[in-house]
């Protein structure tokens, strides 16, 4: 009787540990995308005029729909780009996106926002819910993993240079 109780406790504890490990090992696609977004900055070179002034942080802007909630803030907080912090801004329109280095564009207005950003030196990122519209980097999910396309033509039109290391990871590159 006494022995059986102890066994039950041990099994229950083990089950809890395994469950928590499984949750950690399998983050959601959205969380993965949130983790990826700040990291793109490490593989992109902006024109000098588009870089943050002085000790200012990088600006990672979310224009339109925000699928990440607070996850993006958490991901950005732990990242440094050559010693600069990354600050996440939520914007409603492209009008205020002039100081952004990276802009995640989503939702129904994606097409108009991308058009508004036009030839500005901003690394635009889109997701699969963008009605067929694509930014320079476009997330996809393949084989259960988050991957991305890169439009190098659009990048170079905006004066951005993307590292070959990142290009090597892309599932497709428009050249």
């Amino acid at each position: 009787m006494h022995k059986g109780w102890r066994s039950f406790l041990a099994i229950a504890a083990l089950t809890i540990v395994m469950a928590s490990t499984a949750v950690q090992a399998e983050p959601t696609d959205t969380a993965v995308k949130a983790a990826f977004l700040p990291r793109f900055a490490r593989y992109v070179t902006w024109p000098a005029v588009a870089m943050p002034k002085g000790g200012d942080p990088f600006l990672l802007c979310i224009i339109g729909a925000n699928p990440f909630g607070g996850q993006l803030d958490d991901a950005a907080r732990s990242q440094l780009i050559d010693g600069r912090r990354i600050v996440v801004r939520r914007l409603d329109s492209a009008a205020a996106a002039g100081g952004c280095q990276i802009a995640f564009v989503g939702g129904a207005r994606t097409a108009s926002i991308l058009a508004a950003l036009g030839g500005k030196p901003v690394l635009t990122v889109t997701d699969s819910d963008s009605n067929g519209q694509r930014g320079i980097i476009h997330f996809v999910v393949e084989g259960g993993r988050v991957r991305f396309f890169i439009d190098q033509v659009a990048a170079s039109q905006r004066g951005l240079t993307i590292s070959s290391r990142l290009l090597a990871l892309a599932v497709g590159v428009s050249q």
């Binding site: 993965v32 490490r42 780009i81 290391r165 990142l166 990871l169």
Partner: protein, 577 residues
């Protein structure tokens, strides 16, 4: 120290030096290996670190964007190197994203489970940094080179060093050996040179000794010769002087006066015969060669030989009918035969035995010359070899004092060689002796025998005669003789003077000495023949090299000392021509 010992000690010291050098080389090699070994790990680590850094850079994006496939692809590219034992790529949170283990096992999934590197493995780590952010770590294990392999590599190097050292040793030894051999050879050459110098000195000394011996032998022979001449001449001079002394005595009976005069003539004849034989030996005798038949000559001499040999010696002749003719001086040949015959008689005990005279045709010799031999053999006691060696020496004689002059065989030798032939002697004690005269043949006809001089030549007509003679005594004597014979005589002391006189005055005949200072008799005769070809010249000589060698040019020659009859005959003969 002998050369051999030097060589040995050289052999001992050279290898020590060379082995020392080899040892130094070996130590140097070991030092290089030790140095190599100590730098090996550092160099290997640096090399591996470079690999690891490159891997870290190339996996940065894959780690950042959690792409295990891309990371594994980069790792696999490095795993191609077969010295790579393990590669592990960990994220910043310690989870493995890619890995490779040569054994095939998966790499630990967590960085904390990674075991320490093994002993024979070099481990390097490289942080994965992108834009200043540390995003992960690469672990790279690479094989240290296997000790066995390193040792074998060092062994190869060592073997090379040892081989090099051995080559040095071998070369050194060979060089040393060569030097020693050269030194030894030089030493031997020097010894040889010294021996040669010694030998030359000995040869020189020996030559000197031989020269001295020859000189003393020559002096001995000369002493014998002069002693012999003096002895024989003194005998004759004693008779001449004594007889002349007697002739000067007043009131000497006519019969005694004639006897003393005849004694003087006889002694002078003997003395002339002596000098004639001496000259014959010296081959300075003026010869009057004529062609004659040896067989006839021997037959003609038979009576003379019988008388010379005495009644108890039997004379046998064996004359070859094919014996050729010879061209020699008849009187000299007769004299030679008589000399040999008288030796044969004296050699036969008690003057009893057989004398054999043979003529033999010898045929042609190697040079194609035809020779004939005249052998005269006796049945006497023969000669010992040491006597044989000396029989032709003048004044060498085995006969008792007063019995022989020692000039007989000398005359035979001189006559034979001067006539172009030779003389050979074959003898053995107890078996008799054979003397062979070998003479060259001539094919021409016999000479006409000289007609006997007209008897009573003293009754010839008176003539005008130029007498040329540098010796006052002989000149005065000739003048006295010729004046006594009824001739008119003019005298000249030199050839030049005679030539001068002959141009001024006419002469019927010239009587000239041959050997004179300035122009000699033969030159004078030639000069006169050009100026007065009809003037006959008679030459007189004791001996003359010129006449022996070149002849008298067909002119009559009379030999000194000449007798009255000889002189008048020669003059008459010359004037008849």
């Amino acid at each position: 120290m002998s050369p051999r010992e030097r060589v040995r000690s050289g052999w001992h010291s050279a290898p020590i030096a060379i082995f020392g050098v080899a040892l130094l080389i070996l130590l140097g090699g070991i030092a290089v290996i030790a140095q190599n070994e100590s730098t090996y790990d550092r160099a290997r680590t640096e090399q591996t670190q470079g690999l690891s850094d490159v891997l870290a850079a190339s996996t940065a994006a894959a780690v950042d964007f959690d792409d295990p496939a891309a990371a594994q692809q980069a790792v696999d590219a490095f795993a191609v190197n077969n010295q790579v034992r393990m590669i592990a790529v960990y994220r910043h949170d310690g989870a493995a994203i890619a890995g490779y283990d040569r054994s095939g096992r998966p790499v630990p999934s967590s960085i904390s489970a990674l075991p320490d590197a093994r002993a024979n493995v070099i481990r390097v780590t490289s942080p994965i940094v992108q834009a200043g952010q540390h995003i992960g770590t690469v672990y790279l294990d690479i094989d240290r080179e296997a000790p066995a392999r390193r040792i074998s590599r060092y062994l190869v190097i060592s073997v090379l060093f040892v081989l090099a050292a051995l080559v040095v040793v071998a070369l050194g030894l060979a060089q040393g050996q060569l030097r020693r051999v050269n030194r030894e050879l030089a030493g031997r050459a020097e010894a040889l040179t010294q021996a040669n110098v010694l030998l030359e000195e000995q040869i020189e000394e020996r030559a000197k000794a031989e020269e001295q011996l020859r000189q003393s032998q020559k002096m001995q022979a000369l002493g014998q010769l002069t002693g012999g001449i003096a002895h024989d001449f003194n005998n004759q001079l004693t008779v001449i002087q004594g007889s002349a002394d007697m002739l000067t005595r007043p009131g000497l009976a006519e019969e005694k006066r004639i006897r003393f005069a005849q004694a003087i003539v006889q002694s002078a004849t003997n003395a002339a015969s002596l000098t004639s034989q001496l000259l014959a030996f010296a081959r300075r005798q003026p010869l009057k060669p004529e062609r004659l038949d040896l067989n006839t000559l021997i037959r003609d001499m038979r009576d003379l030989l019988d008388r010379t040999m005495g009644e108890r010696v039997r004379i046998v002749t064996d004359l070859s009918p094919v014996a050729c003719r010879v061209e020699v001086d008849r009187a000299q040949l007769q004299s030679a035969v008589l000399n040999v015959a008288s030796n044969a008689r004296d050699a036969m005990a008690a003057g009893e035995g057989t004398l054999t005279i043979r003529t033999r045709d010898l045929g042609l010799d190697e040079d194609g010359k035809h020779f004939v031999a005249l052998d005269i053999s006796d049945s006497g006691g023969g000669m010992a070899p040491e006597v044989m060696d000396r029989i032709f020496e003048p004044f060498f004689t085995t006969k008792g004092t007063g019995q022989g002059t020692g000039l007989g065989l000398s005359q035979v030798y001189g006559f034979a060689t001067q006539s172009g032939g030779e003389v050979k002697a074959v003898s053995e004690p107890g078996k008799g002796t054979t003397i062979s005269l070998v003479l060259p043949c001539v094919d021409a006809a016999l000479s006409q025998p000289v007609e006997a001089a007209a008897a009573g030549s003293g009754a010839q007509p008176s003539a005008t005669i130029l007498v040329v003679e540098d010796n006052e005594d002989v000149g005065a004597f000739a003048e006295t003789l010729l004046t006594e014979l009824g001739h008119r005589v003019t005298r000249a002391a030199t050839g030049e003077e005679a030539l001068e006189i002959a141009r001024r005055k006419r002469f019927d005949i010239v009587l000239s000495d041959v050997v004179m200072p300035g122009m000699g008799g033969i030159k004078l005769a030639e000069a006169l023949a050009r100026e007065q070809p009809q003037l006959p010249v008679v030459l007189a000589t004791g001996y003359s090299q010129d006449i022996v060698e070149g002849g008298s040019g067909g002119r009559p020659v009379i030999l000194k000392p000449y007798r009255l009859a000889t002189l008048s005959e020669a003059l008459a003969e010359a004037m008849r021509r």
